[in-house]
């Protein structure tokens, strides 16, 4: 089979027992194993057998809650998580091809720590690391750290968006601005060592050429970071950065900071509108986002009636109809393939599928959806064996970025007549 000329990119979002709150009660679920390494290596190995570009792993610095504003007190849902970066690191040595994109919270953590953690994930995975950055807006989460006040939020019943009060909007905008600064620090730290900085020159006794290490000297509203990183530049140069957005402010973060943006269109027309909005933010940010993926929750079965019946059964067990920020697809893998190829025409380059239940809907993706897409010439038939194409950036069709502090970038910035260059592409 010839390589597809315009391949679709596919990721799967792993979270607990799946995205439906009753997923953990399914017969094939393994709710007693959620906190074991074997659970995660099994899921990611399955995703890898489906040749997917990457998996994301959800995370949070709080117990999960059905209520977006405060911690709920439910005991009938999956509660508790392991650190997503460490899950990814645990999975890396036992997988070979698939990208690993853990979620990290930018609001209460140190960019210096996360930068070296993701750089190290890139080393232990042989160039397959990414990170999805996320803000934490809940007051009770902030109380776990006690370093900043976040006022309690009000979400009116039935309201999809968070409070429209101006001070709340300003706070959310601050969190996203902080996330953009955070990613800027990650990226500078990843570049703070040039690739050939380690010289091991016995004659002069020098292990490194220190002229090829760079202070990043970042100063912003929330933090100042001097650098350089303690970890040399990772194999991909710049691991992949992803962010999810539903509105203008997060679109700005995607435009300023992300290589892959996750968005939540309701339909093809809405997808086109979102793509246009993000492109508008890109113009302001003077950079382009390599990929826009639509998030879709999937209930998949070999016939559509079975998928609908399963969703209904899950809803009954959960005591409520499943709602999501993303489009919810219920049907067959073939129908989903139709939808993905249709939505792609709106300017999307890929999809992050959220399996309603695990492992069922993941297996449907890898064993049914992927062959459908392959038959239509829209998905890879095999992973690249080795070298740059086998890295996560390589899978996503991205080149290895020049180092912003390297000689190449310096010439570029001199030629362009300004000191601060655009993010390397």
């Amino acid at each position: 089979m010839a390589a597809p000329t315009n391949p679709l990119h596919l990721a799967v979002a792993l979270d607990g027992a799946g995205w439906h709150p009753a997923a953990w009660r399914e017969p094939d679920a393994e709710p007693g194993r959620l906190f074991t390494p074997g659970y995660w290596t099994g899921l990611v190995a399955r995703a890898e057998r489906g040749l997917l570009d990457f998996v994301t792993i959800e995370d949070g610095l709080d117990l999960q809650s059905d209520d977006r504003a405060v911690r709920d007190q439910r005991t009938d849902r999956v509660r508790g998580r392991l650190d997503a970066v460490l899950i990814a690191a645990r999975v890396a040595p036992v997988t070979r091809h698939i990208g690993l994109v853990p979620t990290a919270i930018t609001t209460h953590t140190e960019p210096f720590h996360l930068s070296k953690a993701i750089a190290t994930l890139d080393y232990v995975s042989g160039g397959r690391a990414g990170v999805r950055v996320q803000i934490a807006g809940r007051a009770d989460t902030a109380a776990h750290f006690g370093r900043r006040e976040i006022p309690p939020r009000r979400v009116e019943p039935g309201m999809r968006r968070l409070s429209a009060e101006p001070d709340m909007q300003r706070l959310a905008a601050d969190h996203f601005d902080e996330a953009a600064d955070y990613v800027e620090v990650l990226r500078r730290l990843w570049d703070s060592w040039e690739d050939d900085a380690e010289i091991r020159d016995v004659a002069t006794g020098r292990f490194i050429d220190r002229d090829k290490l760079h202070y990043i000297e970042f100063e912003g509203r929330w933090f100042a970071v001097q650098g350089p990183s303690i970890t040399p530049r990772p194999p991909q140069g710049q691991p992949v950065v992803a962010a999810l957005g539903h509105a203008e402010v997060p679109y700005r973060l995607i435009a300023r900071a992300a290589d892959v943006g996750f968005v939540t269109p309701r339909d093809r027309a809405h997808a086109a509108q979102i793509v246009a909005e993000v492109r508008g933010e890109e113009a302001a940010a003077k950079r382009t986002v390599a990929h826009l993926f639509a998030d879709v929750v999937v209930f998949l079965d070999d016939n559509a009636g079975a998928a609908r019946a399963r969703r209904q059964r899950l809803d009954e067990r959960a005591g409520a109809a499943y709602a999501s920020d993303a489009h919810i697809f219920t049907g067959t893998p073939a129908e989903l393939a139709d939808l993905l190829l249709d939505w792609r025409e709106a300017g999307l380059t890929g999809f992050r599928l959220r399996p309603a239940t695990l492992p069922h809907d993941l297996a449907q993706v890898t064993m049914r959806l992927v062959p459908q897409l392959q038959r239509r010439g829209a998905f890879r038939a095999a992973y690249p064996e080795a070298g740059w194409p086998a890295s996560l950036r390589g899978l996503l069709g991205l080149s290895r970025p020049a180092n912003r502090y390297g000689p190449e970038a310096q010439e570029h910035s001199l030629a362009a007549g300004h000191g601060r260059k655009r993010s390397p592409r």
């Binding site: 953690a117 776990h144 750290f145 060592w193 380690e198 490194i208």
Partner: protein, 464 residues
């Protein structure tokens, strides 16, 4: 009747960013690539070692205002490497040094709890504390801590982290699909800690891990540090590797345990130690001399002299005598981010005098003095000599075992595992195979009971 022989504990310290690591050796490999860590860890596990140990540094060292370039520079993130190593080992304990100053309890507690889950109960934390604004320049809050607050904050940090680990009793996750009950209680993980360092409350989000909490290591050597360890640690990473130093330290620290309601066997003393192995003792001694010269290149010798004299010495000839003038006495040190320099700074003029006396007595050049005074080779000899020495030291209560630091990455541990470990096993004082699954098992520490139950030893227990 003699008491039964003590069992020896052995650990492997991945070679660090000091001049003890000889990167110039042709056999020296990467200090960053995962293959080096995998090789090192799997060698330690082949040798039935208790655990692997990783140090940490959060700012690249500087001297004379420039990044220090003569030693290995750069290392990976501790947690991430340990989680990856959990995938390629089955029994080996995984000990990470993590600073309590540049982290928050909630995050560190969940990283260690996660590591413990992901390794099946093999996580350990070497709790260190830092205070320098230099390192703090890489972090949100900066780093300065008043001298009197250093241990107080570290103690409080560990106590708070322990409260977070103990906020889950271990039986909350029912995962009862038929009844639809995932947790037994909505209060799982509830905690509240309010003091001048940490003012936090809420719910911890990682269920109780296989060991309950990571094994706790402490490395401080001061009176306060020893009390901290006697009160809260499961093991001490010490620097007292010789017989007399080791025995004095061992006696002192074990003697403190009673004050904190703890017994002799609840705290292991594990000094860091290096080794040079040869076919014969004479060959090993010769190799050791070569290693010391490789560890102290002319350039490295000059930097050491500058650290003690606390000034730049651009035209100094290290093959000639030490400087005749006295060091600059100042709080403003030419070397930054290096703990050992504080030893120099205590009384630099007197120390320089000692160095000159050694030079005179032994007719030594400046470099040769540095080679002598900085030499840190604990065990030199044939496999038989080293095995006997280690066993004798442990039986004489100079230690409970050693954390071995090879000078070559990643292969430096292999000859020890191949040639010394079998001799220790023959002596019957080192395990022939693992008998448990958790690091607590390997270290002979009793499993932790339910939080709050009587007899449970609590890390961060209150200080008398």
């Amino acid at each position: 009747m003699s008491k039964p022989a003590k069992q020896i504990h052995l650990a492997a310290h991945f070679p660090g960013v000091n001049n003890t690591t000889v990167w110039s050796d042709p056999a020296a490999g990467s200090h960053i690539e995962f293959d080096s860590f995998r090789h090192f860890a799997q060698t330690a596990e082949r040798g039935k070692f208790d655990f692997l140990f990783l140090a940490e540094g959060l700012r690249l060292r500087e001297q004379n205002g420039q990044i220090y370039d003569l030693d290995v520079v750069g290392r990976p993130d501790t947690f991430t490497v340990l989680a990856a190593l959990a995938a390629v080992t089955e029994h080996l304990g995984l000990t990470g040094t993590i600073n309590s100053t540049f982290n928050e309890p909630y995050e560190v507690a969940r990283q260690f709890a996660s590591l413990d889950h992901l390794s099946g109960g093999r996580a350990a934390w070497n709790v260190v504390t830092s205070w320098d604004a230099f390192t703090g320049e890489n972090f949100r809050r900066g780093g300065f801590l008043a001298q009197g607050d250093r241990y107080e904050r570290a103690r409080t940090f560990l106590r708070t982290a322990t409260e977070l680990w103990d906020s889950w009793q271990g039986d909350e996750v029912l995962a009862d699909a038929a009844r639809g009950q995932f947790l037994s209680t909505p209060k799982a993980g509830a905690f509240a800690h309010h003091d001048r360092f940490f003012d936090i409350e809420g719910q911890f989000n990682v269920p109780r891990s296989p060991q309950g909490r990571p094994v706790i290591f402490q490395a401080g050597d001061s009176d306060e540090g020893r009390d901290f360890a006697a009160a809260s640690a499961d093991a001490i990473f010490s620097r007292h590797s010789t017989l007399s130093d080791g025995q004095a330290f061992y006696k002192d620290v074990k003697g403190r345990l009673g004050r904190f309601g703890r017994t002799h066997d609840q705290l292991l003393i594990l000094p860091a130690a290096t080794f040079v192995l040869g076919d014969t003792d004479a060959e090993a001694a010769d190799l050791a001399r070569q290693v010391r010269r490789a560890q102290v290149s002319p350039q490295t010798a000059l930097r050491f002299i500058e650290q003690l004299w606390n000034r730049e010495l651009p035209d100094f000839d290290v093959d000639g005598p030490l400087p005749a003038f006295d060091p600059v006495v100042s709080d403003n040190l030419v070397s930054k981010g290096r703990a050992s320099v504080r030893q120099f700074a205590k009384d630099p003029v007197a120390l320089a005098g000692e160095w000159r006396e050694r030079a005179q007595a032994g007719h030594l050049s400046a470099r040769e003095v540095v080679i002598e005074v900085t030499g840190r080779q604990s065990f030199i000899g044939s496999p038989q000599t080293i095995a006997r020495t280690i066993n004798d030291l442990v039986q004489a209560d100079a230690a409970d075992g050693y954390i071995l630091v090879p000078h070559i990455t990643p292969g430096g541990l292999d000859p020890f595992v191949d040639r010394v470990v079998p001799l220790l096993q023959e002596l019957g004082t080192f395990r022939a195979d693992y008998t448990g699954t958790t690091l607590r098992d390997h270290l002979g520490l009793v499993p932790l009971g339910r939080p709050g139950a009587t007899g449970a030893t609590g890390a961060g227990g209150s200080l008398a």
